[in-house]
Structures are given as C-alpha cells and as structure tokens.
Symmetry: C2
Subunit: 422 residues, 2 copies
C-alpha cells in the first residue's frame, strides 16, 4: 500500500471499483449499525446495577431525612465526593439533578437574564459572542444558538485551544462573553489541556469583565488507558492571577453510574456560587437528594469511584483499540485521513480529506450505518473544511463495531478516491 | 366567653395578665416547635418506602433501557399516569426531575428570554407585571421577584381570584403577562376554584397576547377529607374559547411520594409544548428516567395513586382536625381571628385582627415556635393588612402540634388584646 495521492488515475479507478463493490455489498447486507452517540454500553451500565437492586438509604450523614424537603444546593457528602475527585472544597460546589448540561444552560441563562460580575444582563447588552474551540461538543453550541448569541470558532491545538487566538479575541472584543472548554479528554478529540494552556486561561484579561470560561470537565474520571490525566486546577491558577470569577466548572456522574439517573455539579468562585445559589433558591425547593445518597452509598468515596472507572475502562478500551487498530491497519499509510488517539473520554476524532466528511456520512447512511452528522462538531453544524467526523465506539458490541468500522473505512476510501479522481 | 371587642378595659387587662403569664410559661418551657413549612410527616413518607427498598426496574414499556440516554421529555408511561389523574392526553405533557417549581421557573424564564405566542421576549419589552392572587404561595412570588417583574395582588374570594378585578386589569394593561393560580386546595387558603372561575379564566381576553395563566395544580390528589375536589379542566374550557395557549399547568409527585426524590410535569397546548420542548432539548439530554420508572412501578396507575393518597389522608386529617377543633374551641366566639376549613392541601389560613400578624409571629418566635413569617403569603412579603398567617399542621407529631397550637392561640390572644387595649 502507499499514499493514494501518488497513485495513477488508472490505479485509483480500479480501487474505486473495488470499494464501490464492497459498498454495494454493505447496502445489500442491510445491517443497522450506530456509531453516532457517546453512550455507555450495557456492560458498563451493569457495573452500577447494585444502585438499583440495593435498598436506598434515606438518612444523610448529618441526620437529614432525604425523603423530605431541604438542602437545596445538595448534600455535603455528595459535594465532598465530587470535591475529592476534582480537588475543590465542597463549599464551592452545588449539586443538581441528572444533567450537568442543564446546569451549564442555567449558567448561560443566568448571564442572559441577570449578568455576571455586576454587569448588565447579556440580553440587555448590544450583542454577545462566545468562543467555541473546534471541533467541539454540539450540545454546547446548541445552548448558545438557543440564546441567539454569535459563535466564533477557535482552533484546537494538541494541548488545548489556540491561546494566542483566544487572547487576541477575548482581550479586544467586549462582546465576547465566554468560551466553552472540555479540558480533559475533549469531545471529540480526546486531548487534555496542558498546564500552559490552563495558565494562559488564568492569565487572560478579557475586555468583558463578565467573561466566563465554561469548564466542562465531563470526562474527569473517564480514562480507559493508563493513568487518569492530570489537569491543572483552574481555580488555583485563577486565584493566583486574581481572576477566580472567570471559570465555571461542571461535572457529572452520567457516565460513571447511569446517564438516565445520575447526579451533576457546578463549581465556582464564592462570588459566582452566591449568584448561582440565588438562582437555585428562586428555582427549586431542592434536587433529588435520595439519588445523591444512593450514589454516595454505592461509591463510598473517591477511591470507590476510581476503582469503578477502572472496571469501566476494561470494557471500554477494547472498543477503542478495535477502531484504532483497524484504522491503523487499513488507512495507516494511505494519506486519506488522520485520527486522534485518545486515552479517555468517549470519542475518536477522524479527519478526512477536506470536503469529504459529508460524503462519507452519506455513504455510511446508505449502508444503514449512522454516524454523528458531519459538521456537528462545529458551531451551526458548519465544518469549514468538511473534514471532521466524530466516532463513538462505546455503545455497539465489538462485533457490531467491527462491522461498522469496516463499513466506515470503505466509505472513507470511496469518498477520498472520488475526490482524488476529480 | 364573648367577643373581646365588647369587653371592658379592666376585663381585657385582666385577660392580658393571664395570657402574658402563659406566654412566659411557654418561653420558660423552651420547646422548639415548627409549624412553618408544608412538609409531609415521617409517617406519610413511610407509605412510599417500598420505592426505596424494592429493586428499581430499568426497562421501560417500549423496551428502552432507562439507565441510558434518551427520551428527553419523559417516559410515555409516566406522562400517561399524570394524564390519567388530570384528564390530559400524554402528548400535552412533559416530564422533568424532582421539582415542578423548577418547571414553573423555566416557563417564566422562557417568557423572559424567548417570549410566548411570537411576541418579543419579556426582557425586551418595556416592563412586565404579574397578577398574584393573595394570599398565595411565597415561592411563586420569589420567581417573579427574581426576574424583576412587578407583582399586583388580586383578592381571592371563596371560589377563586376575584375575576372582575382580574378581567379589568388583564384586559386593560398589556404589560400584565400572567397570573399565578393554585386552583385546587390553594396555598394557603385551601379553597377550590369554581367552574365559573375557571370559565371566566378561559373567557379572558388579555391585552397582552403573551399572557399566561400559571396553573399550579400542586394539590391535585391531596384531599384529606371527603372526595377529591373536582376542578374544571382548564384546557377544555380554553379550547372552547379559542385561548388554549393561555394556561400552563404544573403538578408533581413531591407530596405523593417524596419531596426529596419525586417526578414533576408541565402540561400545555401543542404550541406551548413545542416551545417548552425546544427549550428542554437545548437544556438537557434527559431527566432521571429511572425515577420515573420507579414511580410507575410503585403506583401502577391512577387508582394506585388515589388509594395511596387515601392512606396519606388518614394520617393528615387528624393534624388538621386538631388545629381546627382547638381554634374553634378556644377562639370560636372571641372575634379576634377567622380561619379556613380546608378539605385538602397543606395549610390552614389564619386571619388575625388587622395589624396583629407580625406581632403574633414575633411572640411565637419568643417561645421557640416557628411559624411562616407573617407577610410571606403576599408579594414582597408585605401583607397590607398584617393579618394573614399560614399554618402548616402536617409535619409535627400530634403531640408537638397540640403544644404548638396552644402557644399560637395564646400569642393570638395576647397580640389581639394588646391591639384592643390601645
């Protein structure tokens, strides 16, 4: 094998016929396959089954009957469990229900209706913009789009967002109110922000005093290969630079226990926590405390969570290995794609030849294989290079996954040869 | 005994000394008592204990694994359970987490940031106002205060808000965007809206096309005496008048199962449901579906819920009887207070002589008895008559409750005689 770009037209034409024939075979086979969403597999979920079979306690550590009202910002023991895993004091943490995304939405909504740092609510300001490192998480973009703010893509380097660009934009334009970050095993590239990048965030002097870093540590314990990646504590870094009010941090147990029954949290500076609590206290008489207790009872402590995630890793890793090994073997030297090599998180980021991603997704769909819509990893669903495809290997069985990767790689080849033949 | 107003100064002075002596006795006894919040008692919560001890199923009726992502607006079987109890099709219902208050907050927030019926978002409009039937629920008022809208109190009659006032205000002022209603066993008066009142709501032609009726059916199955009160279906009534988009309905299982681990719902017209779903889909990847399944599994169907609430009624009713019987016996003919006689809900509404409520609450606090702060049942905490006090009899034991009522009645007498002696 050699790089396709150095092949003659005749060679490419012959390859094209072979791949097209395979493609027709996949269509005829009529399999329904799905590599589109970052969902845990049944085997992963089964690891937490004890939470559903064991009796749920209802008396909290301090004697509170969790079946009743009270403790609007969450149980201290749940705050401490998150805090121990993230190295943050419980006093800087609030706990909510099943969805950390909802907490992020709410923090953006808080900016829209009430504003941060004593500034006018964003809705009363002329226009607001958000920086979006790309490729990124579609649901972050959906929140910004819902509120009608403008999104500005910023390139991701191997160790985080391109901080020269972030600095230049944030420090010159007061309409820019924040940035989305998935700092550990980023969605979809699986990269981890370096200490330098975290320090560069802390050193930012945004033109907008109400600029907020949306720090979504979604995969904080979700390493499946090697040790859990370290991540510089952004609150510590920001305290040193006097910008502690910039970061808002989020995490959840959705992919630790159950996406359909977990616990989420937000962490922030004392000043931001006060604003968030004020909103919570206007909003609810309290989250589901029984589910918090159910979690604390099942996982016990930080070590318990990490041990549980080691078991998940043993299930998850073969899925990633299968995809990565197959990509290496079949596309390694063809020069028609590159891909990330994550050690945690839920995705492999595939970069096709420019202008090929949509075509690849369409070819996959023809065969019955659903992949994340091309473009989804960019604001407004528009990948300017039409190149990035997010692969989610965890949910299908290894057998289904092997079939899906087979189909996917054939689609990549077909679309790439089509482009090279043009 | 006779009405205090017809007593001589000397008689009153002598009574005052007696009551003051009792009051000092209560202070010396140093009991800690609480009649302040509408919380279920331990015995009520114990009725749902099976939800915590039994294994929680995880496969929904349609085969969905509820442990995983999906079904953002709730399980069909949970929608149907609410729907059967409220006579609303499941398609008009969305399910959320533990707190229906959060859904109400979110519907107000939706109005603020996105607007209703194609109108400008409320935050972009000049000024907005909300009608608040009084006395009412403090947490409703907190939401409006949080968003900085003006609250206009409207008098409650025995069968609902004074609809002449509601009509006059809502139909003449386009800044008035809605009204809060607890139509069944209202908080705190325990009254039920008559069919005429519901029809008058449906017939409203508000000046604001984006006027919304916040219909909080919080106590929809919470009768403790006699049959469950009927309530005309506001959606049916509004469909007849072509104003189906006006009402937004809310309910929850907080006081059916556990305030610390329940399921809530919103119901609305197809057009409003679409707007609400759009917000939900921007906001979360889904509520806690396992808890929905836990509820459906425990209660089975509407009959199961009603049977469960009959058991709760047997626990709750003696608490109300104790307070009402004691008030009747001790204050019945003294002319220094009147009170509601609810057959459902969580509160007794006590009306002291004008100008006495704050003094009564302060006297209670001196003895260690916490009651809902006087004024809490009015917007901004300001009862113009300083008369209404909300009594919450469910949470204390009957023994504690007897002691609390004793203390409370003595405080009422003391404050009333003080006033009459002035």
């Amino acid at each position: 094998m050699s790089a396709y770009v150095s092949k003659s037209k005749a060679e490419l034409q012959s390859l094209y016929e072979q791949r097209l024939s395979s493609h027709r075979g996949f269509i005829a086979a009529g399999k329904k396959l799905d590599m589109s969403r970052g969902k845990p597999s049944k085997a992963q979920l089964d690891l937490s089954q004890g939470m559903l079979t064991r009796e749920c306690p209802h008396i909290a550590r301090d004697g509170l009957d969790c079946r009743n009202y009270g403790q609007m910002d969450g149980l201290p023991e749940m705050k401490e469990l998150f805090g121990a895993l993230l190295n943050i004091p419980g006093s800087q943490i609030v706990i909510s229900g099943n969805s950390s995304l909802q907490m992020m939405f709410d923090c953006i909504a808080l900016g829209m209706t009430h504003g941060y740092s004593g500034c006018e609510p964003w809705m009363k300001q002329d226009k607001i913009k958000f920086l979006c490192p790309v490729p990124g998480y579609d649901r972050h973009f959906t929140i910004i789009e819902y509120f009608g703010a403008e999104m500005i893509p910023v390139r991701l380097n191997g160790d985080g967002p391109d901080m020269d660009t972030v600095r230049r934009l944030a420090e010159s334009d007061a309409q820019i109110k924040g940035i989305w970050c998935v700092p550990r095993y980023s969605n979809p590239d699986g990269l981890v922000y370096s200490d330098e990048v975290v320090r560069a965030f802390a050193a930012l002097k945004p033109a907008a005093p109400d600029f907020r870093i949306m720090w979504d540590d979604a995969y904080f314990v979700h390493n499946f290969k090697g040790e859990r990646a370290g991540l510089l504590n952004i609150f510590d870094a920001c305290r040193e630079t006097g910008s502690e009010d910039m970061p808002l941090m989020f995490a959840s147990f959705s992919k630790v226990s159950f996406p359909g029954g977990a616990v989420s949290m937000a962490a922030a500076s004392p000043r931001n926590i006060e604003a968030i609590k004020k909103r919570i206290f206007s909003q609810t008489i309290g989250p589901d405390k029984l589910n918090q207790l159910r979690h604390v009872n099942f996982f016990k402590d930080a070590q318990g969570v990490l041990a549980h995630m080691k078991k998940q890793a043993q299930i998850v890793r073969p899925h990633f290995d299968l995809v990565l090994n197959t990509l290496d073997a079949r596309l390694g030297d063809k020069g028609i794609g590159r891909w990330s090599r994550p050690e945690g998180g839920y995705f492999i980021s595939f970069y096709a030849l420019e202008g090929c991603a949509k075509r690849i997704a369409a070819l996959c769909l023809e065969t019955g294989l659903v992949i994340t819509p091309a473009g989804a990893t960019y604001p407004y669903g528009k990948d300017p290079y039409d190149s990035n495809i997010r692969i989610a290997p965890t949910f299908p069985s290894l057998e289904e996954l092997a079939a899906a990767v087979d189909t996917f790689i054939n689609a990549v080849e077909l679309a790439s040869i089509e482009k090279l033949l043009k």
